[in-house]
Symmetry: C2
Subunit: 250 residues, 2 copies
C-alpha cells in the first residue's frame, strides 16, 4: 500500500477568451499495490471530478496530467477516454479535452434523472438490506452531520455519496450503480461552484426518513424519501441555490 502526496496540477482555464494558467489541487488517493497506472489515473481523476475539483469548461491536457501523475501519456489517455465514456469529460472536435459545461436545462435534466435512477435503485435494494447494513447506513448518516457541522464540505459530500451508495449496493446485482455514478460525475463540476458560494450547509433530514422506511421494509416510502432528498439538495447544498448559481454562471 502506497499513499501519494497532494499534487498541484496546472489546468488551462478559459476566461473571457484568454487562457490563463491556474493551479489546482487534485485530492490525494491511496494507490493499492498492484493497481495499474491507468487504473490509478482513472480513479484519481474520477474522484477529483466527482467532488467538484474541476470547474465546468476547464480543459486538461494528456501530457500535463501524465506529468502530475508521474507517468506517461498512454495510461492517462486511456483514463481520459474512459472518463468521457461516463460523461465526466468531453473530447471536443478540435481535440481539446474539457470538463463539460452545464446549462440550467441540463442541470434540471440531470437532477430528474438522478431521482428516477436512485429511487428505482433504492426500491430494488430494500429487500436485500440486513439490519446490520441499515445500522451502518445510519452511522454514515451521522458522519454526514458531523462533517456538515465541522464545515468540511468535501468530506460531507463524500459521506453523502457513501450513504446513497451503501443503500444501492445492497442489491446483489447493482447494475444501476455505475449509471448513477455517471450522473454524479456530471453534476460534480457544479458542486465545485456551489462549494465556493454556498457558505451554509444544511443537515439532511430526509435521510432519517429513508432509514426509518428501510427498517420497515417499505419500498415506496424509501423511494419517496430518496426522491425528496435529491429534489431538495445535493448533500447539504440547497438545490434552488445551486440552480440560481448556475443561471448566473451562464
Amino acid at each position: 500500500m502506497r499513499s501519494s502526496a497532494r499534487f498541484r496540477v496546472s489546468v488551462v482555464s478559459k476566461v473571457k477568451g484568454h487562457a490563463q494558467l491556474k493551479p489546482l489541487v487534485l485530492p490525494p488517493l491511496a494507490r493499492p499495490d498492484g493497481m495499474t497506472t491507468h487504473d490509478y489515473a482513472f480513479n484519481r481523476l474520477r474522484q477529483a471530478i466527482m467532488v467538484g475539483a474541476f470547474r465546468p469548461g476547464t480543459s486538461v491536457t494528456i501530457r500535463g496530467l501524465a506529468e502530475a501523475l508521474e507517468s506517461s501519456p498512454t495510461p492517462v489517455r486511456e483514463a481520459l477516454r474512459q472518463l468521457t465514456s461516463i460523461g465526466a469529460l468531453q473530447f471536443l472536435e478540435n481535440r481539446r479535452i474539457v470538463v463539460p459545461h452545464i446549462t440550467p436545462a441540463r442541470f434540471e435534466e440531470l437532477i430528474s434523472l438522478r431521482i428516477a435512477l436512485e429511487s428505482h435503485a433504492a426500491r430494488r435494494a430494500v429487500a436485500h438490506l440486513s439490519e446490520r447494513q441499515i445500522a451502518q447506513i445510519a452511522a454514515v448518516d451521522d458522519s454526514i452531520e458531523t462533517e456538515i457541522r465541522a464545515g468540511d464540505k468535501v468530506a460531507a459530500l463524500i459521506a453523502n455519496q457513501a450513504f446513497h451508495r451503501l443503500i444501492y449496493m445492497a442489491n446483489p446485482d447493482p447494475v444501476a450503480m455505475p449509471l448513477i455514478e455517471s450522473v454524479w460525475l456530471q453534476l460534480g463540476p457544479i458542486l465545485g461552484i456551489a462549494m465556493e458560494h454556498v457558505t451554509e450547509l444544511y443537515v439532511i433530514d430526509r435521510h432519517r426518513e429513508a432509514i426509518d422506511a428501510l427498517r420497515r421494509r417499505d419500498e415506496d416510502a424509501v423511494a419517496d424519501a430518496i426522491a425528496a432528498d435529491i429534489r431538495e439538495g445535493i448533500g447539504g447544498f440547497d438545490q434552488q441555490a445551486v440552480a440560481r448559481l448556475l443561471r448566473l454562471a451562464a
Copy 2:
C-alpha cells in the same frame, strides 16, 4: 467516406474449460472521413456487441482486434477500455478481456432498469416532439414490421433501437440516452443467444400505442406503453422465452 469490408475475427470462446477458436463476423460499419482509429474501433465493436455478435463469456484480445481492424494495440486498447466503462466488456483480474456473463437475476435487473430509465426518458421527451418527428417514428415502426416479416433479426433489432432512440433523443438534453445505451449493450450478448434459438419474431403492437399517446401528448400513457413494450420483449423477442434460454445457459 470509406466503407470497410466484412472482417472475420477470431475470438477465443471458452466451452467447458477448453478454449476453442471460433470464427465470428463483425458487422461492417462505415468509417466517416477524419474519424480517428480509436473512434472507429470503439463504434465498430460497440455496434457489434449491441446487436449480439458476441456471446457472453467470449474473450477478445487487443492484438487480435488490432489486426482485424488493421491498426495497432494503442487505439484498440482505448476503445476496449471505453467499452468496459459502459459495461459492454469486462477486464478480469487476470487481465483477460471478456464479454460479461449474465445470470437470470442480472437479466431481470437490467430489464427493470430499462423500464425505469426508458419510461422516464420517454416522458421527458413528449413535450419536445414535433408532429413531423412523430411521423418519422411511425415510419421507423413500419420498417420494424417489414424486417420482422422478412425474418431479418439483426435489422429488426437495429430498427427497434432506432425507434426508441428517436423518441428519447427529442429531448434537447438527452442525458439519459448514454445510460440507456449502456443497458442495451449489457443486454446485447443475450440477444445473440436469442437470435440463435428464437425462430419466430412477433410484431410489436405496443409501439402503435406509444405513437398514439405521443400524438395526444399524454406523458403517462407514453411512459406506460414504453414500459409495457420492454416488459413484453426485446424488439420482437419474447421476454419470457429469452429468460428461459438464459436459465438453460446457466
